[in-house]
């Protein structure tokens, strides 16, 4: 238990001033601009927007600057900021089929309709440090190739499988049915898939990555294939009550991952492919893939599978995925616990005294016993 303390105001004020100075670093080096962070550290910005659950690139850039590059602290700042704003409402669901695709790959079909475009990716790079980036050259004149565009549509891989009836259909409920919202009501169990997906979408990338990896290593196997990963820009539409029609708010960038999973079938369901779904703000493929794998793992009950592994345990996964909550609880241990600890000290001292007394008494009894025997 944490008990409030008084005092330390001056020390705290000075510590924060010192933090500001250390954050600025060597003043002979120019300060980072938000444009530099937003433009050149796009993956950090995307991660902070996703885990902060707030899409705004310049705000995320500010949060990263303020947090000295601590991305969890930055996501925390985003979550705190959002509480200061009114909620206008809910968007219409984004349509990822109409994405301005900047990257689309499939590990299941090499010749899928619409083809594959690699886009900006670390894949197939040799992971050798590029010392040209350390040199003065700022890379502003790097040439990029272009090619004439064919307007071939890019249907989702899961839709192709769906046409053959080889994959389960997406669940469709009444459009007016309520959709769970973790920003409105705290998480409770059992949690339906809408709440699970929202939780995963803002969950910690590292935690989800580890869970997804655990399913590959045998803790609740789901036999996943990356059916499709696509990244690009989608429009966000919002129905404005006072206007009486849906307005386009602008575009955001998202990564979508469709995991296609083998399913042996059960007494209730025929063998078919099943789905795991990942959708995240920005280009965050590792997270989108992990999310899709963990989403699929948590569907064990609905598919009549056996629960054997941590990644299938809905309550365990959802209760520990939020790094803002996690860091709050872990890091609060740094704050003064003096009263608490004082009580513990007294208790431990008393128990030790009793223990030593008892041992002494036992020893005396033992000696007397031995003497009596002699």
């Amino acid at each position: 238990m944490y008990v409030a303390v008084k005092g330390g105001e001056r020390a705290i004020r000075n510590a924060h001033k010192l933090l500001a100075r250390r954050r600025r670093g060597d003043t002979s080096v120019p300060a980072l601009t938000l444009e530099q962070i937003a433009g050149q550290l796009a993956h950090s910005v995307a991660r902070v927007m996703g885990e902060g659950s707030l899409y705004d690139e310049m705000l995320a850039a500010l949060a990263i600057k303020q947090a000295r590059g601590d991305l969890i602290e930055a996501a925390f700042l985003m979550r705190a900021y959002r509480t200061t704003l009114p909620r206008f409402g809910y968007s219409r669901p984004i349509d990822t089929a109409r994405m301005l695709v900047e990257r689309r790959v499939s590990a299941t079909y090499k010749d899928l309709p619409g083809g594959q475009v690699l886009g900006p990716t670390f894949d197939y790079s040799h992971r050798l440090l590029d010392f040209a980036l350390a040199a003065e050259d700022d890379g502003s004149d790097l040439p990029v190739d272009t090619a004439p565009v064919t307007d071939e549509p890019m249907p989702r891989v899961t839709d192709l499988l769906g046409e053959e009836g080889l994959i389960e259909p997406d669940p469709v409920t009444d459009e007016d049915a309520p959709v769970g919202d973790l920003t409105r009501e705290p998480l409770s169990f059992p949690a339906d898939r809408d709440l699970r997906l929202q939780n995963l979408a803002r969950g910690d990338e590292g935690f989800l990555l580890a869970l997804a990896y655990s399913t590959q290593r045998g803790y609740g196997r789901t036999h996943p294939f990356a059916g499709e990963i696509r990244y690009g820009e989608v429009e966000v539409e919002f129905f404005a009550e006072e206007l009486g029609f849906a307005v386009t708010l602008g575009t955001i960038k998202v990564t979508e991952c469709q995991m296609v999973n083998q399913f042996q079938g059960t007494a209730k369901a025929a063998p078919t492919f099943t789905r795991g779904y990942g959708l995240v703000f920005g280009q965050v493929e590792r997270k989108a893939m992990s999310m899709a794998m963990v989403d699929r793992s948590m569907r064990w009950q609905e598919l009549g599978e056996e629960q054997t592994a941590p990644a299938q345990d809905v309550e365990f996964v959802l209760s520990h995925s939020d790094n803002i909550q996690a860091t709050g609880f872990v890091e609060h241990l740094k704050l003064p616990h003096y009263v608490d600890f004082q009580a513990e000290l007294d208790l431990v001292r008393r128990m030790r005294a009793e223990w030593f007394d008892r041992r002494k008494a036992d020893a005396t009894d033992g000696n007397q016993g031995r003497k009596a025997a002699e």
Binding site: M49, L54, Y55, D56, L59, L85, P86, R87, F88, G89, Y90, R92, P93, I94, V101, R103, V105, K110, G115, Q116, V117, L118, G119, T146, A147, V149, R156, D159, D170, P171, V172, T173, V179, G180, D181, T183, R193, D194, L197, Q198, A201, R202, E235, V236, F238, F239, A240, G244, F245, A246, V247, T248, L249, G250, T251, E256, Q258, Y277, L279, F281
Partner: protein, 157 residues
């Protein structure tokens, strides 16, 4: 949230306005400011001052299934009324209050029959063209990364 039904003419008018508003929403604050500065400044009053808030973005399970909440976006909205009576509105991503105000004025001028043609040619058309160009560039750059994988038979080199 079921949309009200309306006549086909009204539908076309709404669709045209939706497109104009979408173009404004997607334009950068600098581009809106530049186009706004070139207009004859109209008299207007604020009905709802520029206000930044949140919209919760939804996705669909598997891309086509039931909706779920993905995360929020910042949105700025504003409503103005021209002296001549037309009401202009805006909802656009981000926290740009000046852009919201200027966009609302442009939306009102777009609705005014006397100024619509000018707004279309001087503001909406060039902004829409810039957006098309930007998207075309993304498509062409992406296209150059199109890949064809070949499956190798085991033992081949």
């Amino acid at each position: 949230m079921r949309e009200p039904t309306s006549s086909p003419d009204e539908d076309t008018a709404i669709e045209d306005r939706r497109k104009a508003m979408a173009t404004l929403a997607e334009a950068s604050p600098a581009d809106i400011a530049e186009k706004f500065a070139a207009l004859t400044p109209p008299s207007y009053e604020l009905v709802r001052r520029p206000e930044t808030g949140l919209v919760m973005v939804r996705g669909r399970m598997g891309g086509t299934g039931s909706p779920f909440n993905l995360g929020e976006v910042t949105v700025t909205r504003c409503v103005i009324r021209l002296e001549t009576g037309e009401t202009g509105s805006v909802y656009s991503l981000g926290r740009h209050k000046k852009k919201a105000l200027q966009s609302a004025v442009i939306d009102a001028l777009w609705q005014r029959s006397e100024t619509r043609a000018r707004i279309e040619t001087d503001v909406i058309a060039p902004l829409a063209a810039a957006r098309r160009d930007r998207k075309a560039t993304v498509r062409e750059e992406t296209e150059a990364t199109r890949v064809n994988f070949f499956t190798m038979v085991r033992g081949d080199t």
